[in-house]
């Protein structure tokens, strides 16, 4: 039955949607505005939203003094690296769970996911000590591995749900056609699961990009990504709101750009199971 929507109801709905969207977007907007304020305006209370002198000084300072470039590069390497590593492990794992169902497959999946519920701080010390004894503290390699492991349950789960949508017949046909396991995954499963794999990739790059607990605790400078860069401006001693905001904007812009351009892919992937 079609729902009848009067013009009045429609404008109320629209207004409500705008309010909610603004509330969600507001912190980002505030950060964005603050990044263009001189430091003394930035700390003003109540905050000033209009009529201040726009300045690029914060961006200038941040880039010049703190070496944005190397943080940015670390973020790219760590997020992409951990995602690629994760995919290499997760695709075969999800294949096994989706197509070679065992009695305990569901339990295994639940158990994997349950590790995500454990507070990360709980394993910080052992992981830190392991990293230290292997000489891996403050290396991009260590962060790639740790972030990969942290996100692995999510990658496996996502891929598992996408793979389950793929008819097993087709993989069996590949086997009958003489494909070994490697060819089956490479030539048949992966191309068919491209939308799902793409959205998993994107989501994981985003998660890894934004991850701050491990990046803050396991790096000092060499491997420090943008999260560390931002944190560097939040010291209690200084009036650094402006610079902090500029750093934040510069940290989120790349990922927002990726997200913006891959919106369609992301939504298609995330609803892959739903549309049939």
């Amino acid at each position: 039955m079609a729902r009848v929507v009067t013009p009045a109801q429609k404008s109320i709905n629209t207004a409500a949607a705008w309010v909610v969207a603004l509330i969600i977007f507001f912190p980002i907007l505030w950060t964005f505005l603050t990044s263009f304020k001189p430091e003394e305006v930035a700390v003003a209370s109540p905050p000033v939203f209009v009529g201040f002198d726009w300045t690029m000084q914060n961006y200038h300072d941040v880039i010049a003094q703190r070496g944005y470039g190397s943080y940015f590069w670390n973020s790219v390497v760590i997020s992409v690296g951990s995602t690629v590593l994760g995919m290499i492990i997760a695709i075969p794992a999800a294949w096994a769970m989706a197509f070679v169902h065992g009695k305990r497959t569901k339990d295994l999946l639940m158990w994997m996911l349950s590790t995500k519920m454990m507070p990360a701080a709980g394993v910080l010390v052992p992981i830190y000590l392991m990293g230290k004894s292997l000489g891996l503290i403050d290396t991009r390699f260590m962060l790639m591995i740790v972030l990969m492991l942290m996100n692995l349950p999510i990658i496996v789960w996502m891929l598992y749900t996408y793979f389950r949508e793929i008819p097993g017949d087709i993989l069996e046909a590949a086997r009958m056609d003489g494909a070994n396991l490697m060819s089956e995954i490479l030539y048949v499963l992966t191309p068919m699961a491209i939308p799902g794999i793409a959205s998993t990739l994107l989501l994981n790059v985003i998660l890894a990009w934004n991850e701050s607990f491990w990046t803050l605790n396991l790096t000092t400078f060499q491997a420090a990504p943008l999260t560390k860069f931002i944190a560097g401006f939040s010291s209690p001693q200084g009036l650094f709101y402006g610079k902090l905001s500029a750093a934040s904007v510069m940290a989120i812009v790349p990922i927002m750009v990726i997200g913006w351009f891959s919106q369609k892919q992301l939504v298609r992937g995330l609803t892959f199971g739903a549309v049939k």
Binding site: D169, I170, A173, R175, M176, D177, G178, A179, N180, P191
Partner: protein
């Protein structure tokens, strides 16, 4: 070559034994049809032969070689699935080429074989399309094309026609039979449709609950069904089965007579009854007749018979073609 031998092959899923130990030999070049009601284990048996399921016991030999534990890719068999199972992301050409690509066949030879297969299957104009852009019949042909290019030891078909509409089904049935005539390769064909079994098979294997009830040529099964199950399953419309007093007269537990082996008369005969429904098919007329004491039987008359609901008729079975079964349902000599 494609001689396939099953030696005490069995299959259980967990606790459930779907196929009790079973022996079967399929000769090279034979067209064998596995037929039986839904859920009787036909697909499972086919998948065991294909290697898509592991046996729980017994041995499978292909051309004398033990293939029991060989992966599907090493058995040299090709399969056509009910769902066609085409690769949706590849063009028709790439679909057909896939097994050859896996086998490392040189590109030129691949092209030659693809063109030949496409010509034989009327797919030449569709080679660059994706499976999604084809009709059901065309998809089925692509699946067959993909199977023939690799020149398998045997073809396995799992209800390949059940997703097609009736008219197309008859056409494809002929095409597959012709394909067998042409290639003379072993074919194992699974169906629940006894018409497909009767029309296509050299040898029919009737299955019930994983057990082979009878193996034989279509006519053998039609003429001498080994038990009540086969008697009821093979032939359309079904054989009439009559129990009780009437069967006792023939010292049997059950007697069976096919609708086409009954003589119809309006004035005299062995059994008397009234017409319940008459179906005119043009060439034939099928009458459903209520015999007072022996239940309802089906009788075939010629297309001109004009009898209607409530009419009184007499039926005389052809004694030569009467089947007798004992109390256990087994055929009596």
């Amino acid at each position: 070559m494609g001689r396939i031998t099953l030696d005490k092959v069995k299959k259980a899923f967990g606790e459930v034994e779907v196929i009790p130990p079973l022996d079967l030999t399929i000769e090279d070049g034979e067209f064998v049809v596995f037929v039986g009601p839904s859920g009787c284990g036909k697909s499972t048996l086919l998948r065991l032969i294909a290697g898509l399921e592991d046996v729980s016991g017994g041995q499978i030999r292909i051309d004398g070689q033990d293939a029991t534990h060989a992966p599907p890719s090493k058995r040299g068999l090709a399969m056509v699935f009910q769902s066609y199972a085409l690769y949706p992301h590849m063009s028709v050409r790439k679909n057909i080429a896939f097994p050859m690509k896996m086998a490392g066949v040189p590109q030129e030879e691949q092209n030659r074989k693809i063109d030949a297969a496409a010509k034989a299957l009327n797919l030449t104009d569709y080679l660059e399309r994706r499976p999604g852009q084809l009709s059901g019949g065309q998809r089925q042909r692509v699946a067959i094309g993909r199977a023939i290019v690799r020149e398998p030891a045997a073809f396995l078909f799992d209800e390949p026609l059940s997703n097609l509409d009736a008219a197309l089904r008859v056409g494809m049935r002929l095409e597959i039979s012709e394909l067998h005539e042409r290639l003379k390769t072993t074919m194992i064909y699974v169906t629940h449709d006894q018409v497909e079994a009767m029309t296509m098979a050299d040898k029919i294997v009737v299955l019930r609950a994983g057990v082979i009830e009878q193996v034989g040529s279509p006519l053998e099964l039609y003429r001498t069904p080994r038990n009540l199950f086969v008697a009821g399953f093979i032939g359309s419309p079904k054989m009439n089965l009559i129990q009780g007093q009437e069967a006792k007269k023939y010292s049997a537990g059950t007697i069976g007579i096919r609708p086409e082996h009954c003589l119809l008369s309006t004035d005299s005969g062995t059994w008397e009854g009234t017409v319940v429904v008459s179906e005119h098919l043009g060439s034939d007329t099928f009458l459903y007749v209520d015999l007072k004491d022996h239940g309802t039987v089906t009788v075939r008359g010629n297309g001109e018979v004009s009898l209607h609901h409530g009419d009184r008729v007499f039926i005389t079975p052809d004694m030569e073609k009467l089947h007798r079964f004992d109390d256990k349902g087994l055929r009596m000599p």
